[in-house]
C-alpha cells in the first residue's frame, strides 16, 4: 500500500498542491487512526477472534461433559473429531440439506425482492407506501415471533391456510420437504424486505435522464432493465446476494422453533442447528466445534469468491 507511506493524512484530494502544507508526521498523527480503531479492535479481538481461535482449539481436543464439569484433563485428538464427523453419514446429509436449503432461500429471496423493487418504481405513492409498510412490518418481526406466527397459520387444526386450501388436517411439519418449504416461506417473508428496500433505493439513485434517454431511443422495458438498470445496480446486487448467502446459510431460529429443534429424527437439521445440538444437547463440544469450523471454512470460501468478483469489477476497498 504505497499511499500509506506517502501521504500524511487523508490528503489525496489536494494531491501535489497540498504537499507544501502537509504537516510533519508526528507520532500522534500516525497513531490517531489506531486510537479510533482501538475500541473496535478490542471488542472484536476479545469476542470474535479469540472465540474463533478457541473454536478451532476445542475442535481438535477431546472435550465432553467429563472435561467441562468433571475436571478431567483434556487430551489432544488432532483431526480425530473431523475424522469422526466425516465418517458420520448424518453430517453429509445435513451438509447437503443446508446447502440446498440456503440456495433455495437465497434464490427465492432475491427473485421476490428484486421483482417487488421494480414493481415499486412502477406504481404511485399510495400502493408504494402500502407495500413498503407491509415489507417493513415483515422485516421488523423478530425471528422467534415470525416462526410461531407462521406455525399458527399452517397449523393443521386451527390454521387458516389449510382451511383455504382445503387440506383438512394435513401436517406441514411432519414431512421433511413440506417442513423445509414452510421454513423457507418464513425465511423469504422476513428477508425479502432488505433486498427490496436496498434495490429500490439503488434504482431511485439512477438518474431519471438516463432512463428517459433510453425510452426516447425506443428501448423496451425489459431492454432498459437488462442494458441500463442491471449493470448500474450490479454492486448493489452483489451486496444483497452476499448478505443473503451469509444469513440464509446460518439460519437457526426458524429451524429450531418451527421444526422443534431439527424435525422428526433430525430430518430438518441444518449445520448450525446440528452443531448446537451436538454441543449442547449431547455435550459433544468438540464435535459441535468441528462442525462450526467446517461452516466457517465454507463461508470463508464464499467470501473469497465475492472479493474476487469485487476486484474484477475494479472496485476499490
Amino acid at each position: 500500500m504505497p499511499a500509506g507511506a506517502a501521504s500524511a493524512v487523508r490528503r489525496r484530494v489536494r494531491g501535489r498542491r497540498g504537499s507544501s502544507r502537509s504537516s510533519p508526521r508526528t507520532w500522534a498523527d500516525r497513531s490517531l487512526p489506531w486510537i479510533y480503531l482501538a475500541p473496535a479492535l478490542l471488542v472484536l479481538g476479545g469476542l470474535l477472534v479469540y472465540p474463533v481461535y478457541q473454536l478451532g482449539l476445542i475442535s481438535v481436543l477431546e472435550y465432553t461433559q467429563a472435561q467441562v464439569s468433571g475436571g478431567e484433563p483434556t487430551s489432544f485428538r488432532g483431526l480425530g473429531n473431523y475424522g469422526e464427523l466425516f465418517r458420520d453419514g448424518q453430517f453429509w446429509q445435513v451438509l447437503l440439506a443446508t446447502v440446498l436449503f440456503a440456495a433455495a432461500c437465497v434464490g427465492c429471496t432475491l427473485a421476490v425482492g428484486c421483482g417487488l423493487a421494480v414493481l415499486l418504481t412502477r406504481v404511485r405513492a399510495l400502493p408504494r407506501l402500502a407495500l413498503m409498510l407491509a415489507a417493513l412490518g415483515a422485516w421488523a418481526t423478530p425471528a422467534v415471533t415470525g416462526s410461531t406466527v407462521w406455525l399458527l397459520l399452517f397449523d393443521p387444526d386451527f390454521g387458516p391456510v389449510n382451511r383455504v386450501l382445503g387440506l383438512g388436517d394435513h401436517s406441514w411439519t411432519y414431512g421433511r420437504y413440506s417442513a423445509f418449504l414452510l421454513v423457507l416461506l418464513e425465511v423469504v417473508w422476513c428477508s425479502f424486505p432488505f433486498v427490496m428496500v436496498t434495490v429500490y433505493a439503488g434504482i431511485r439513485a439512477v438518474p431519471s435522464e438516463v432512463l428517459e434517454a433510453a425510452a426516447l431511443d425506443g428501448a423496451s422495458q425489459w431492454r432498459i432493465w437488462r442494458s441500463v438498470l442491471a449493470p448500474m445496480l450490479r454492486p448493489i446486487l452483489a451486496i444483497v446476494t452476499i448478505q443473503s448467502v451469509i444469513w440464509d446459510f446460518k439460519v437457526f431460529t426458524q429451524i429450531y422453533v418451527m421444526t422443534n429443534g431439527g424435525g422428526i429424527a433430525g430430518q430438518n437439521l441444518v449445520l448450525n442447528v446440528y452443531a448446537y445440538q451436538r454441543a449442547f444437547a449431547s455435550s459433544e463440544y468438540s464435535l459441535g466445534s468441528a462442525i462450526g469450523v467446517v461452516m466457517l471454512l465454507i463461508l470463508l470460501a464464499v467470501t473469497l469468491v465475492y472479493l474476487r468478483l469485487l476486484r474484477r469489477q475494479g472496485e476499490r476497498l
Binding site: 478457541q54 412502477r122 428496500v197 446460518k250 448450525n272 462450526g292
Partner: protein, 281 residues
C-alpha cells in the same frame, strides 16, 4: 423522482398497482393474524373454522402473558440489551469507520478485508467457546453476557456500511474546519457525526434487530437466573410444541414485535436513504 410517468402506460400501471396492493396484503397477513389471535377469546382460537375477524375481542391472553412470571422484567431486560448494543456499536463503528476512510495507514486494506470476513463468522457456532469464555469470566446469567457478544457481532457489518457515509463527506469540509481553527475532535463530533447520522440510523436497525431477536445466547448463557431472561425466552414458555397456548404465544409475540415496529416506523425514511447511501459509494 421515480421512473418517469411517460414510461409507464396506463393499463400496465393499474395492473402493477393492483398487484402491489395484493402483495402488500399477503405480506401483512401474518402480522394481522398474529394481532387478531392475540385478541381472540380462548375458544375461538382453538376452533376448526378460523374466521378472519373476531366479534368478541378480549385482553385475556395479554393478562395471561403479563401475569406469568416477570414478563415486564424480561421486556426491560430485552430493551436494555438492545439499547446498549445499538448505542455502543454505533459509537465504536463510527470511530472505526472514520479511521479506515479518512486515514491512509499500513494494514488498512487488510483490516477492511478482516471486517468483511468477520461478517461470515457463524455466530451460532461461537456459542460454544463464548459459553466457556463467559463462564470463566463469571458472566454467565448476566445481561453483560448478551450485550458484549452482540456488540462484537454487529460491529463488522456496521463499520462496512458506515464507510460509505463517512466517505461521502467532502474532504474540503474537513480542511475548511481546520482552517477555521477547529480541532480534530471537534470536527469529528460537531461536523462529521451529524452528517453521518442517517447512516448510523440505518446500521443501528441491524444491530437492534439482532440483539432484540436473540434467542440462542439467551438460551445458552442465561441458564439458571431467570430474572435475567429476555423476551424470546419468555415467549417460548407459552410455546410447547405439543400443546401450544396459541393465545399466549400470539399476545407475547405482539408485545415483542411492537417496539421493533415503532423503531422501524421512526427510522423508515432514513433507512431507505441510508441504504441507498451505503450502496452508492
Amino acid at each position: 423522482m421515480n421512473a418517469p410517468r411517460a414510461l409507464v402506460r396506463r393499463p400496465w400501471r393499474s395492473a402493477a398497482e393492483a398487484s402491489a396492493l395484493l402483495v402488500a396484503a399477503v405480506v401483512a397477513f401474518p402480522l394481522y393474524w398474529m394481532v387478531l389471535s392475540a385478541f381472540r377469546p380462548a375458544g375461538e382460537i382453538e376452533s376448526s373454522e378460523p374466521r378472519p375477524w373476531t366479534l368478541a375481542p378480549t385482553l385475556d391472553s395479554f393478562r395471561r402473558v403479563f401475569g406469568q412470571q416477570e414478563f415486564g422484567r424480561y421486556f426491560l431486560n430485552s430493551l436494555l440489551v438492545a439499547g446498549t448494543v445499538v448505542i455502543a456499536s454505533a459509537l465504536i463503528a463510527f470511530l472505526a469507520a472514520t479511521a479506515v476512510t479518512r486515514f491512509r495507514f499500513r494494514f488498512r486494506t487488510t483490516l477492511l478485508i478482516m471486517f468483511l470476513v468477520a461478517q461470515m463468522v457463524p455466530v451460532e457456532a461461537l456459542t460454544i467457546p463464548l459459553f466457556f469464555l463467559m463462564r470463566d469470566a463469571g458472566q454467565l446469567n448476566t445481561l453483560g453476557s448478551l450485550i458484549l457478544p452482540h456488540i462484537a457481532f454487529s460491529l463488522p457489518f456496521a463499520i462496512w456500511m458506515l464507510r460509505g457515509f463517512v466517505k461521502a463527506v467532502p474532504e474540503a469540509l474537513e480542511e475548511a474546519a481546520y482552517i477555521d481553527g477547529a480541532s480534530r475532535t471537534r470536527f469529528m463530533w460537531r461536523i462529521l457525526f451529524p452528517l453521518v447520522f442517517p447512516g448510523l440510523v440505518a446500521t443501528s436497525v441491524f444491530s437492534f434487530i439482532s440483539a432484540w431477536n436473540d434467542f440462542l445466547f439467551a438460551k445458552s448463557f442465561i441458564i439458571s437466573d431467570t430474572s435475567q431472561s429476555t423476551l424470546p425466552m419468555a415467549l417460548l414458555v407459552f410455546y410447547k410444541p405439543d400443546d401450544p397456548d396459541w393465545g399466549g404465544v400470539m399476545a407475547a409475540s405482539t408485545v415483542m414485535t411492537i417496539p421493533v415496529l415503532i423503531f422501524f416506523v421512526l427510522v423508515q425514511r432514513r433507512l431507505v436513504s441510508g441504504l441507498g447511501g451505503a450502496v452508492k459509494d
